[in-house]
Subunit: 298 residues, 4 copies
């Protein structure tokens, strides 16, 4: 496979049934489109019976061949998406497509902590995250210089209990105006309302995590008092139940009794940014299917 000009990534899930791999792959074969990468998984434990998941990366170079035109009517991405969508629908399933040259646009929501913000921008610039970052919104002016140094538009929208609905509406406006596909909460220390979550594109959040879990304020101090030996972080989609959305990625780091609460925070910050970056990467690579409270990362 020499590097193709463009690819499409199809992410399919449906009730499991015989012949799925053959039929889904056969669709592209008949069109003369080459499957560059594919993976699939059957989950026997689905709530509504066994469920099938498949991710297919297809070389769009083949769209120019007569074979594709004949089969599809017109050899356009629109026709391809429509025809494959019809196949998946006929199987009782759902599909999401991402085009390699239509780069997802990410908005970062942050407060004052620069660690995750820098990390996401630098990974994007290094080519690790296949996305653009055309918008940073904060409830403080604190990180404006960071945004400016990378020439990213920055908006400080302070928020209080009273102004929250109004502030959230302004954020939604910004997301729309900048055609944002994904919101990343890079330690944005605000709870989002259900109204916001309904109006916004998908939202990924990063959350510290401990064994055992701690409720309430100052979790790192609680973890310290309890003498935990591990500090964790969980990246998940934000849902109405705060910190209870479908988990995309998790990791931990080791800590010792010699570390004070501040050092636990420092170690936690390192884990958080790595976990958040991995989760964002999985999302923009069109690898994540949400099913109820679970994710499948193909």
């Amino acid at each position: 496979m020499t590097s193709p000009t463009s690819t499409a990534t199809f992410l399919v899930h449906s009730p499991d049934q015989p012949g799925l791999v053959a039929r889904l792959a056969g669709f592209f074969y008949k069109l003369g489109l080459n499957i560059i990468d594919a993976s699939n998984h059957s989950d026997p434990h689905g709530a509504a019976g066994p469920r099938f998941f498949m991710r297919l990366v297809v070389d769009l170079g083949g769209l120019g061949k007569p074979q594709a035109e004949t089969e599809l009517g017109s050899a356009t991405r629109g026709s391809l998406e429509k025809a494959f969508g019809e196949l998946v629908t006929s199987l009782g399933g759902e599909v999401r497509v991402a085009w390699s040259d239509v780069v997802p646009r990410i908005a970062i929501l942050c407060t004052k902590d620069p660690a995750c913000v820098y990390d996401l921008i630098l990974r994007q610039q290094a080519g690790e995250l296949a996305c653009e970052i055309p918008l940073i919104v904060s409830n403080h002016a604190h990180l404006e210089a960071v945004a400016t140094s990378f020439r990213i538009p920055f908006f400080a929208l302070p928020v209080t209990k009273e102004t929250k609905p109004e502030q959230e509406a302004k954020v939604i406006d910004l997301l729309k105006k900048h055609h944002i596909d994904l919101v990343v909460l890079a330690r944005y220390m605000q709870v989002l309302s259900e109204t916001f979550l309904v109006a916004a594109p998908p939202v990924i959040n990063i959350h510290h995590g401990f064994l055992p879990a701690f409720q309430g304020a100052k979790p790192y101090h609680q973890a310290h008092e309890r003498g935990v030996k591990l500090i964790g972080a969980t990246a998940h989609y934000a849902t109405r139940d705060l910190d209870e959305g479908p988990i995309i990625e998790q990791d931990v780091a080791r800590v010792t009794h010699a570390m004070g609460p501040e050092e636990l925070v420092r170690v936690g910050r390192d884990v958080e940014r790595v976990v958040l970056a991995r989760a964002v990467r999985a999302h923009v690579d069109n690898r994540v299917v949400v099913q109820g409270r679970r994710t499948f990362v193909l």
Copy 2:
């Protein structure tokens, strides 16, 4: 340091105060006893003010020198322990001593799962755990052959809700008769009563752990339904609050959506036995100080 015939390991903790390292180390220096290994830690976050922890491993070869006899009156372990104990008491602290040639005796309590039992025995035989294992007790006869193949006395003491007090009393008798210093719950699927815990030597338990935590039955199934990406294990001292005792050691392993609940159990078992072995090792090496709900592992 050529390998000494015998050593003593002193584990001290006390309110922090100037000169502790000098005074504790100076005690042995004056006696002509060599400190082979030492580590100490000051915890500024103690509930009752800053607290100091020190572990000292001392070569007992020096006890034969006239210097020691002069200072102690008689050059015996008893005199040494008494004199050092008086020093620590005068500092408001506490001390625990372990002699390298007085090997701690461990009882394993298990049910049917052989993994942790084999693991502990094999590590002990390989010289990784400085202890003896002269007793295995189970509420089932299931693992008798394992015990027999290593010539370890095995007692099957079935337990029901009604016979629990009586069965626990029998276990306590066995622990006393076999001079047990530490009880290890190697997946002993029974809750121990407070009466038992008061009468028994220290008890180490191993417990699965997840992010987030799950209450109730079938935790691995709950973890599976929630799509966790990590499976953890926590080794802790057993206290009245089940699974809430001071944590000695923790670790995790990575899992994926492709693993069913049974595979999560398998991965969890691997983590559990490693974590349990590390915790037992830390305890028998006299490294663990409990302070409230925390441990300090020196």
Copy 3:
């Protein structure tokens, strides 16, 4: 998918070409055989051009359907294997099949160290390794009692430089007589001759590994002198170039300056047995394709 009575696992590789997933999956679809699990990978970096790898797990329940009989002539495993083999050959590829109810038979070769031997047996007994272990061969009598306690035939075949060809011939005889499919060197401290490797079934070896690498005797002592912070282990197929065969699995553990060479050995032993078990598991699950000096673990 309710648990199927029997499955077949096909492991295919071939030059990459359009339509492979569709054609391979389509083969089983036409027969009415359900694909339970599938994964594939295209490697653009193959020495002889891009190469395609696919693993398909097929429910053999469908072999009883008229559809299969019609297509295959006779609805037998033999016909299925032959027909699929012809398809793969026509694509210029190769295929290996494993039947879930034909359990691979493993021989363990060991010397004196019980850790890896116990580990493999206990994992097999716990259902983690889908194999039988009907044979243990050692150049010492040391581990006979271990084998006996699990009722596994044990043969002590001492070896010297002079008797090596003869001893190896005896081992080969034992492997044949016991119908062994895979040899696992569980710290068998002998270099195997090329003659042996040609005559034997696949051989998996476990090898310590360090950064940097150390040549010559006492590698743990060299690693200690060099102050390494990590201890590694590599499981690989044995080839003529000792410790240079295709790598199946690797892992490391952390060590500190406070550990002497013996402790490095202890930590290394723990890593070695986990890595070896994972490699054996991948092999018996028919997941490993060797290509030159690389493996692909699907």
Copy 4:
């Protein structure tokens, strides 16, 4: 311990001998200086016999007490350093002191890769590295904007085979002019001459590492061809033997057959920057003693 205004960190090593902990700690006790943190280690494997290592962090608040003045003649840092140095010398040992309010000054040498450069600067700004970064030197102009955005003086000094001695002399001049205490090679793709290393302050380098190791060009491509499952990084002090200096820190990350050489590079970059940051942190915290080809990190 309330947070002290200033501390001194003494790092001592000497031939092992009885009473070292007592005598070193006793020195500060007599002066009325409080030891906040201490750790020590006896290495029985030293080339010239057993060797003792100790790190002591001392609260300088006590220097104002009459007791310190009486003992030292004058209660100055100079007198303290001199008196403790004399004690250590009398024991045949060596000592290095760091004052918490005399912050080490680091120069970053880089080429074109921004990852490690940003990482060090951001960690320094977040308070994770107790140092200043007043100088960045590169053989390319590429990263000038990065330096400028953090207001750090930047010098581009191109280098060819012919101009190397001259360019290195200019770098040495810059190091002197900016009073640099430590040079960090953040993927500076140039071999430093022995002349440079003799004239420069300590130099920390980061180096990829593999199991097995690969010599020669394009190591990531070699690692890919060999199918390694782990990618490692080693931070070490630079010595004449390129990539052979004393190791300070190491770590690895997992890779799979599905990753091409470019992805191995990406994963490697993530490991490299974490490992480099940890090594720099250990150095600026005055924790690292070099002994021959080993380090002891206290």
